[in-house]
C-alpha cells in the first residue's frame, strides 16, 4: 500500500523533476497512441514538436498563438494566488476587443500613417474594457458577497452577445453585404509584425515584460505579499488588517486589464477587424495555462508556449500524418493530466504503508 503524505515544504527537487517526468510519461503514452494509429512514434513526435518550429514563420505563429494565452494567464494567475476565481477572462478579452476595435472604427475616417497615437489609445481602450467587465463581478462580490466564479463566467457569455449585436448592427461594414463583421481597420490601427513575413507582433515582447513585472510585484512588493497572504491565510490577513475587498478588486482588475489587452492585441494583430467571435476560447484555455504554470509568471509564459505548440502540432499531425483532430486532443489532454499529476509530488511524497491504516469512525 502507498499513501500520499503532505510535505512540510514543497520539494525543490520534485519541482524540477515533475515537468520532466510528465514529459517522459507523455512521450511514452503518445508513442503508444501514435503506434496504434500506424505511425512510427519518433517520426510522429517530431511532427508534433519540431515540424511547427521548422521555419521563421512557424516560430512566429508559435509566439503569436502563445501571446493571448500568456497575457490572459498572467492576469489570472495573480488573482488565483489570492484565491479570487476569475473564470470570465474570455468575456474580458472580448470586451477589450470591442473597446479597442470600436475606437479604430470610430477614428477610421481621420487617421493616417502619421497617427501614431491610435495604437496606444486602442491599447488603453482595450485595457479599460477588460477592467470594466471584470469590475462587475468584483463589485457584486465586495458589495453583495456573490460568487465571482458564477458572475464572471456568466458575463463571459454576455460579452459575445454584445459583440454579436454590434457587428450585426451599428458596426457592420456598410460595404459588407449584410454580413456580420466590421470594416477592416486602417493600417495605422494595426500592430505591425515583428519580422517581415511572420505575424507575431509587439504584443509578445509586451507579454514577457508583463511577466517580469508581475514577478517583481509578487516577490518584492508589499502589495504582492498582501495579496498572497489574503489568498493563503485569510484569517491572518484580516488580523493584519489587509483588506479582503482590496484583494478582490486588485485581482479582478488585473485579470481584466490583462485579458482586455490581449483582446486588443488580437483584433489589432491577426484579425484586423471585429467579427462575431474574436476568441476561440483563449480566456478559458488561460485557466489551464495559469495552473500548468503553477501560478508563477515565468511558469505561465512557459505553459502558454507549450499549449500553443501543442495546438500547432495538432495541425501538423492532421496535415502530415492524417491523424484526426480528436487524436491530437487526446494527446494534449494526456500531457496536461501528466503535468498536473506529477505536480502533486511537489507538495506530497509517496510513502509506503505496511499496515492497513486503522479505520476512522469519525
Amino acid at each position: 500500500m502507498f499513501t500520499l503524505e503532505a510535505r512540510t515544504l514543497p520539494s525543490v527537487r520534485a519541482m524540477w523533476l515533475a515537468p520532466l517526468a510528465a514529459l517522459l510519461l507523455t512521450l511514452l503514452g503518445g508513442s503508444v497512441l501514435f503506434a496504434a494509429f500506424g505511425h512510427a512514434p519518433l517520426q510522429a513526435l517530431s511532427v508534433y514538436f519540431l515540424q511547427p518550429l521548422a521555419s521563421v514563420y512557424g516560430i512566429g505563429e508559435w509566439l503569436l498563438k502563445a501571446t493571448p494565452l500568456a497575457v490572459c494567464g498572467l492576469g489570472l494567475a495573480l488573482g488565483f494566488r489570492a484565491k479570487v476565481w476569475n473564470i470570465g477572462a474570455d468575456g474580458q478579452f472580448t470586451l477589450g476587443a470591442i473597446c479597442a476595435g470600436g475606437l479604430a472604427i470610430a477614428c477610421d475616417g481621420f487617421i493616417d500613417a502619421e497617427s501614431l497615437w491610435i495604437a496606444p489609445a486602442m491599447a488603453l481602450a482595450g485595457i479599460a474594457g477588460g477592467m470594466m467587465w471584470a469590475a462587475l463581478p468584483a463589485w457584486l462580490r465586495t458589495r453583495y458577497g456573490s460568487s465571482e466564479i458564477l458572475s464572471s463566467l456568466m458575463l463571459a457569455y454576455v460579452a459575445p452577445l454584445l459583440l454579436g449585436w454590434l457587428v450585426n448592427g451599428p458596426w457592420r461594414d456598410p460595404a459588407g453585404f449584410n454580413f456580420p463583421q466590421s470594416i477592416q481597420f486602417a493600417d495605422a490601427a494595426l500592430l505591425a509584425p515583428l519580422h517581415e513575413g511572420a505575424r507575431v507582433t509587439l504584443a509578445f515582447p509586451v507579454a514577457l515584460v508583463l511577466a517580469g513585472l508581475l514577478c517583481f510585484v509578487q516577490r518584492y512588493t508589499y502589495a504582492g505579499f498582501r495579496l498572497q497572504v489574503s489568498g493563503e491565510a485569510p484569517l491572518a490577513a484580516r488580523h493584519a488588517g489587509y483588506s479582503q475587498r482590496a484583494a478582490v478588486w486588485i485581482a479582478m482588475l488585473t485579470g481584466g486589464a490583462c485579458a482586455g489587452f490581449a483582446g486588443y492585441a488580437e483584433v489589432a494583430g491577426p484579425l484586423g477587424q471585429l467579427q462575431p467571435s474574436v476568441s476561440p476560447g483563449y480566456g478559458f484555455t488561460a485557466i489551464i495555462v495559469a495552473f500548468v504554470g503553477r501560478l508563477d509568471p515565468r511558469g505561465v509564459v512557459l505553459a502558454a508556449l507549450l499549449l500553443s505548440l501543442l495546438a500547432l502540432g495538432g495541425e501538423a499531425a492532421q496535415m502530415t500524418l492524417d491523424l484526426p483532430a480528436a487524436i491530437s486532443g487526446v494527446f494534449q489532454g494526456g500531457l496536461l493530466c501528466a503535468l498536473l499529476a506529477c505536480d502533486t509530488f511537489v507538495h506530497y511524497r509517496l510513502r509506503r504503508v505496511y499496515r492497513k491504516p486503522a479505520a476512522h469512525t469519525s
Binding site: Y57, E61, L64, K65, P160, L161, G164, G169, F177, N178, F179, P180, Q184, R199, E266, G269, P270, L271, G272, Q273, Q275, P276, S277, V278, S279, P280, G281, F284, T285, I288, L307, A311, L312, E315, A316, Q318, M319, D322, P324, A325, A326, G329, Q332
Partner: protein
Amino acid sequence: MFSPRRRQLLQFAAATPLAAAFASVPRPARAAFPKPELPLKVGYVYVSPIGDAGWTYQHDLGRKAVEASFGDKVMIKVIESVSEGADAERVIREFASSGYGLVFATSFGYMNPLLRVAKQFPKGIFEHATGYRQAPNVGIYAARYYEARYLTGILAGRMSKSGVAGYVAAFPIPEVVMGINAFMLGMKSVNPQAQVKVIWVNAWFDPGKEREAAATLVAQGADVLTQHTDSTAVVQTAEDKGAYAIGYHSDMSKYGPKAHLSAATHHWEGYYRRVVQQVLDGSWAPDNVWGGIKDGMVGLAPLHPAVPAEVGALVATKKQDIIDGRLLPFQGPLFDQAGRQVIGAGAKLTDDELLKMNYYVEGVVGQMPK
C-alpha cells in the same frame, strides 16, 4: 483545448453573386495556372469536426468523391475544427507553403485570411465557400439551398394536419431567412392557411437549445419540424414527440426513422470534381458559382414511405419545374409578413435581392430579431 464557440458563423452562404460588384478582379490571362505536377496536392479546411451529419460532413463527402475519382493524381489532406480567427490564416498558409496547389476553405469566416494568403501565394489556387470576395487566384462557390427548402415546404404542407410547421433557426442572416421564406412559400402553395413558427437559438450548433426550441414548437401546435442549425437534435425531438421532421444539410433519416420525411441536402461532389479537373487540365479560372438543384449542388433526401405516392409525385413534378426554370420559389406576387406587396405578379426577386433578404414573407409567425 476549450473552444465553446468554435462553430459560429458556420455557413453564411449568401452574397456570392454580388462579387460581381467587386468587378476590379482582372481577367486572368489564358493559362494563368499551367498544368500542375502530379499528384496535385489538395487541402481542405473545415470549421468543425467531420462528424456523422451536417455542413462539414457534406463537404467531406465531396472530398471523398474527388479521392475516388482521381486516385493517385491527387493527394488530399484535411484539417478540421479550424476556428474562424487567427488560426485560419496559419492553416491556409501552411497548405499553400507546403506545395498544395489547390485549397478549399469551407466557411464564411475564412474569407479575409484566405485572401491575405492568396495574395502571398499567387501561384496557388484557392476556393472559398459562401464568401463574396474574389481574387485572380480565388474562386467562390455556394448553393441555392432555398430551392430544396421550397420543395420540403410542399411536403410539410401536405403532411401537416395542423397546418403549422416549426422552424428552429440559427442567426437571422439572409441565407437563413431565405430558407425560412422558401419553406413558407412551398407550404403555402399547397395550403394557403399554413403557418411557420420560428424560434431563433442564436447558435449554429447547440443540441440542448435546439431540442428545447423543437419541444416548444410542438407544444405550440407544430406537427412538422425543420431546422437551420447543425445538429440532429430537432429531428430526434420530432421522433420523440411523434411529429414529422425535415432534415437539413444531410439525410438525417437514421436519427428519426419514423419522423424523417425528407431533408434538404447539400452536394459538393460534382463541384469539387469539376474544379479539380479544371486545375489538372490547366483550365481553371476564378469563378463565382451559385448552383441549385439543376447543378446537382442541392437535393432532397429519399421520401419517407409514409408519404403518399401522390404527394411524392407532386414534389417530383415541382422539382422538375425548378430544374427546368418553370418554377421560381420567389416568384411574384410576393407579400411580406405584414401583407405589403414586395413584388407584383410576373416579377421575380433578383439574386441581389435574395442575398439581402431581411424580412419574412406572409404566413411566418413571430418577429425577426434585429
